[in-house]
Subunit: 505 residues, 4 copies
């Protein structure tokens, strides 16, 4: 376990920090102002209730039942029932990493100070993260207007019910708490709602998807650079000055990175044998990767706001000392961003597929068809089916899902956005692209080897070496599905990326 | 293991038989005429080759490489390489049941007599099925113009490479063969292609999906009948004579079945408290379930033709004693049917969701809102999110995927249909509906209990009892996700169905 | 105007007859049994009302208002209000041909005898069709659970309100009636509902779409045959015996037709210069066209049942002398078919596009690239954008729409199917394909001319001559958009089809 | 015609200016620096050609033909042929307003200075705009990688071919030029490509769509405010402080605007009869409208960059005095934005529909069901079909289309984005929402009238008066389709908006 520490204030959590805590075991601490806001907001709730102001989920019921008084002495039972009856999500489970991300995001939201949760319960999130108690959280069942159906499963663990992981081992939740030296919480007024009424499932899973897309785009730039070397392609589309007159930020960024990866490469040599213009899948790669970066920027910007603001309803306002009914659980702004991102990633998939196709085509490479080292080797011919089949699936997944909902809860809940599913389908797209880029990488290094004695770029050489260590040259046919899996892993783990980034800043 | 036997001739395999062999362990035998066609077609290949007629995959290469002579003595190496280099599918694995269905369908196709495979290899399919050797078959990677990328993994097992299951245990393929008392095959000319060039993946998985949809529709009729009792709904839409003047076959069938399930039920009693007309989700259930039956009929009819005809290219014609290049691997007719079926199932999902919503609404039932037995019980309120979230996913999955493909293999393979993915997304829709119907069932029995002392139908009573044995009445809140899972299992296993069908013929 | 006559009985209307009446001015007559059923059912309604049986839309209100008594003496006012208040459809207008088809289908449905409409109003449909009075009918606004919102506009014309066409000229409806020698009808009990509550909009428009798809498929077979001659392609995929072992009905039919069109063509000559196997867009055309035929069969079969059965609710049963509440306005079975058909047509679009692409590619034709007669002619290069852009639109349109609906009318109408929109988007797909096939035709005849002195088939020669009469050989660049439009018209009007079919039976 | 003048520099054109020039007849002038860049870049082209540097479209061919020398003296013929042969777009025509927008955007791009067009031709755009010569421009046929197929039709007019509008009257292009006192241009080297190779079609049409969405959102805020008064809804979700703790920019903006429109309204009065929490379609309107604003911001930001940068290939770099092959015609960044915007507008459609549904529901309003003034009036009951049918169409249109393309031009053009179609389908969504909001407006004012004697807000009162002037209170049924059309027009023309904005800043 990691001893690095992230300080949480409710105001400045980043996607990178979510990645570190959920995947790399960084510990968390809460800032003093965070603690203060927790306490102040809890006190405010009590003050308001004492003034007989109706507070949803506190001295009223929930949803359609909102008009039913819930008397003070039934608080624990009521909130426990609320958690149990809202535990309605279905398989598959979110990964342990994801559940950690979800808890972290929820905790940060609580620190923002508009919830009024019992401070002890907020601290429970911290302890569960730090001590590695992770609830079993089935990830389907919420429509995104608050991720109630799923987040309740975190509540279950907190009260010692259901199942949880302790340091990666699944067990009854109560046992997990005990092994970690924790006690189940006692739910007080509004605590049930405070646990479940939040966008934290989609936001937490979404933060990890954003991190993954960032890394995927960095990988895509690197693999494209390798393919350009495999193709003996033109570098003019990387020309800095052409990007200056088309100032979309993403394309300049990608062009600059690719240029750096290719520093010192033979592709920069004047070479009369090059085509005047390469296929668009090569000529436009920096532009297209860049467009996905532009789309990603939108999502990241707004998801970061989500993680550092209030999604509470009702919303406690500390300064104004009031509690207000509102719709701040509406995450539509960034859910739309994930829909866009999925479509954008479809373009990445397409260009990667076309780059691989071109590497198998002698008209574009001058190399043997399907990069066969000899006539008896068939391997790269059929491989086209694999990546285009995965692309068809991406095309399918990139259809929108955010506007498909029912009017629920006695027609009160007549809007939704399906944020969890939208994030989850984007995650699936990302995973498919890892295969597609991995297969492109297999093509690129094969083409490079067939060219013999060419000088690779400063960054691409590192990538080449790592790939070739795992996947040797195809001199004869072998069970290629094994190599596909290895290439996929290389796109997923950060081996190539971290080695390249050590050298290319 | 089951000792029942199915006889395979290549001409009359049914969806029901695929279900029995793949899931219930029925053994297979091959008819004499099947064996004869196998031998005759192999002989014909040799005769043709002796006449120097070019035979694709035999004395020519494959795909873009089709113009490259493959000399006779390289047959084993060539075909082994073909299997290895075409083993390019990626996760997830098809289930053991599905792989058995795939092998069965492929074997039946071989018996049809247009392939010319080595008879020993055809027999290997039989032995592997009967002795429970099941290749590990990753199910993504084929675009459906032949399921080459995936079927090659069956070939891998046959030559003793890769992994396989023996009686449910995963192990190296060679070991699985040995434990089953089998030897790896020696591939001769055209055998590689014969193994991989077929629609058997999608057809085999598809046959099981069809069986599942049939059972799902039977379950849907039963659950609807229960819900009608829960609602105290009108039976006039079941009136046989109204269906006679609207002669779509499905709606009459469903209406008749539902009528039988409800035989003896209190809902037939004249009751002035009933609404004049129920919501369409009740009034139209027989019609809508019936429409799905009509769509299913289309798919089943054509998939049955697929399973009992030739998908070979080139195609050996025994009577004409020729081998002809063709496109009989085009399965578009029934792939379109699966697309339609997925959309059709979207309607089933919607009506089931709306029926559950109505059961929670006092305006339609006269029962407590959300079927709460007392004011403190919250359970059925939030449950709406679960099933509508799953419906949103179904809506997403019901988008088509069959026309999204690339032009591959040097622009020779410029058509595809994505049959495996289309079948697999339909399978996913089916699975989601099991949850949705299961939750409807939970509503229906709760509503029935709240009505007290009503008399259920002959079929619905059986269903009610089985459900209530697993899922008791909600008198107080509990972790409802456990009950959802149980209800899902009841929709999937055939407990209710088989018990009801024992009584209702 | 045409003097041919179609006899309507309510029981045997065909798609072909709908085509003839709506587009070719065939007159209609009603059989005696049709008239009898009209009268008997009207009498039955009165008998039932006299027995104080509640009849929806007769002695009850409509929809959510169904519980409000409507007293007998308010019948005319009530039904007039019903027509006015249900006239809620929005632009664009259905074409005159389509509105005629809609009226014909509605009339035939009335003759089936389950409606109980005033016979005089049924006869009004006949007169309006025969005398060419055609209501202005905006075609958007119905969700298909009955096409109420749109069909009411026919009612408006009948009572002399709104606008209508008389012999193609738009005018106030009253004037149109007068010019045609007709009087507005006086609405009696249930007449409003009888006019509006039917699937006739989608069914009428759908019948014409089906006819159009049939003709489109015949054209596609012809154009493919021409392209095969342009390519100098292989005929082996047309081999009758290969289709016998793959007995999907459509592919055999298309293969047989194409074979006939090509009778006597040079493509049948043994020619060693041919590729061993053509691209799938050529090799699989008969199969793919055939799959669309298979899908079309499904739709046509069930739409024909729709046109000759009852979609009434409530449903009068003459034999049983009762009126029953039901859901016979559920057209989901064939709406699903139109969804499938749209997806199927996407395959037609794709193969046609790929065939055009191949005709521009010297690697496949041995002809100049982009079929340029000399280096200075650019025409066929960019044309690829036009047809692939139209294909992208088809891909978009082929997404399903049938399950996207709201719960309406106080949550009573919680199912719908969007049949009008589903039919209309299919119609749009068909229209786009006319351009795509038209452009393929331009390619095919250009390739044929460049081959010089080849002998065309018996059918293809006729098609070739008609095309070339409109669109001369490209010897230099010209405004090609004019030719595209001409080619489109040739695909739409039946000139080629009727000339070819005169010779090829 | 308007005498206002917009100055074009190539660097600072705004969406608002595009709106003014194309729709309100503002004249344009070109700044001196714009002229200078035009001249300098033309000179640079000549200098480069003199140095024998290959310049695509200048001393080389185009596309796959790019390797063919085009000799200097064939420039006019070559470029004329290029225009003719690229004139391949098909119906429907873009509107006159849109074509003006397209020409304006293209002209501004030329002034940016990376094209090297003949300055006389650039000036021709200016003259055609100012003198109201508008080419007939069919808007389908481009795949967005440059809108070549469509923009060529502008070139046709410039050389006096094809058809054009002069002051709104269609005529032969040559005649239109002559009537406007213009001469056809003489095309020189690279001019053909300069005219056609640009994203100006999608960008020009897109700019108008953006303007329309901005106005639609302002209208949506106003109509929502009216509906809130119709519902007697809660204002707490407008609370400024709740938006401060959820700092998505759009929701704060909408909440602030709505608050202003409602200034002085009775809805702010404490009223114990209000529900504690309104349906989400009311509670979340500011949030959801705001999310669409956030999505719109993305598109507007990047489209503005598009309009003020280079989409040329090859790209002239004035400072560096080189010409570089690149992919700056890739507009994917903002095409993705339009895809997102279409999905976002789906949410607007949904909430507007649900607000109308709620206004018809006594449980939420306390008013008569379907806002009927008396029992005999049916009007608002069926109206639900109209707007939900249009919403279903929006749902369909919101599916993505940007990744559906072929590999074209000898596999060189293997990326596209369908920008024109993506913009056009978004435009269609916008138009549908005008109906939906218009119908909501009809509901809102009916509900307001039924409440009697309530005091409306400062802004809503103005809107109310304008609507009521066109559409009187429903005291009895009438042909409601006429009112729907009027309401649609009110959403489209700016009458309400401009009157309200005069008072509410």
């Amino acid at each position: 376990m990691n001893d690095n520490i992230i300080k949480l204030s409710g105001k400045d959590l980043t996607v990178e920090e979510v990645d570190r805590v959920s995947r790399y075991g960084y510990k968390i601490e809460i800032t003093e102002e965070g603690i203060k806001r927790l306490k102040d907001s809890r006190q405010l709730v009590f003050d308001l209730v004492d003034s007989n102001i109706p507070v949803y989920g506190f001295n009223t019921g929930v949803g359609w039942n909102k008009d039913k008084a819930v008397f003070k002495d039934f608080f624990q039972e009521y909130n426990t029932n609320l958690i149990r009856s809202h535990s309605i999500a279905v398989e598959p489970e979110a990964s342990i990493e994801e559940v950690r991300a979800v808890m972290l995001v929820r905790l940060n939201g609580l620190l923002y100070g508009c919830t009024g949760i019992q401070p002890e319960i907020a601290l429970m999130y911290k302890e569960m993260i730090n001590r590695e108690v992770t609830p079993v959280l089935p990830e389907r069942g919420s429509v995104g207007e608050g991720d109630i159906a799923c987040l309740s499963h975190i509540g279950l663990t907190m009260i010692g019910e259901g199942e949880a992981y302790y340091k990666g081992v699944k067990m009854p939740a109560l046992e997990a708490l005990q092994q970690a030296g924790l006690e189940p919480v006692v739910l007080g007024p509004k605590d049930g709602l405070a646990i479940v009424s939040s966008n934290a499932l989609a936001a937490g899973e979404g933060a990890l998807v954003i991190k993954d897309v960032e890394e995927l785009l960095d990988m895509a730039d690197i693999i494209y650079a390798l393919s350009l070397e495999g193709l003996n392609g033109n570098t003019s589309p990387l020309d800095k000055n052409t990007h200056k007159v088309r100032p979309f930020p993403g394309q300049s960024y990608s062009a600059e990175r690719i240029t750096k990866y290719l520093e010192g490469s033979y592709v920069w040599n004047p070479n009369w044998k090059k085509a005047l213009q390469d296929p668009l899948s090569y000529r436009g790669s920096a532009h297209i990767h860049g467009s996905i970066r532009d789309a990603l920027d939108y999502v990241k910007k707004y998801l970061t706001i989500q993680m550092n603001s209030s999604d509470d309803n009702p919303c406690l306002l500390l300064d104004e000392r009031v509690i207000v009914s509102c719709s701040n659980f509406e995450p539509t702004t960034w859910v739309l961003g994930f829909e866009m991102l999925g479509i954008a990633l479809g373009h990445l998939s397409k260009v990667s597929c076309y780059r691989s196709i071109k590497l198998g085509d002698p008209d574009f490479t001058g190399l043997p068809r399907f990069l066969a080292p000899s006539d008896n080797v068939l391997s790269f011919a059929t491989l086209q089916k694999t990546y285009t089949a995965l692309d068809a699936e991406i095309r399918h997944l990139s259809n929108p899902a955010t506007t498909d909902f029912f009017s629920l809860a006695g027609d009160i809940e007549d809007h939704a956005n399906n944020s969890p599913y939208v994030v989850q389908k984007t995650r699936k797209i990302v995973d498919n692209i890892r295969y597609i880029l991995g297969i492109e990488a297999i093509h690129a290094v094969q083409a490079i080897d067939l060219r013999k004695d060419i000088h690779l770029g400063k960054g691409t050489k590192i990538a080449y070496d790592i790939i070739r260590k795992e996947i040797p040259f195809y001199d004869k046919d072998r069970n290629i599905s094994i190599d596909i899996k290895k290439a996929y892993e290389l796109m997923k783990n950060k081996k190539i990326l971290s080695e390249v980034l050590k050298v290319i800043k």
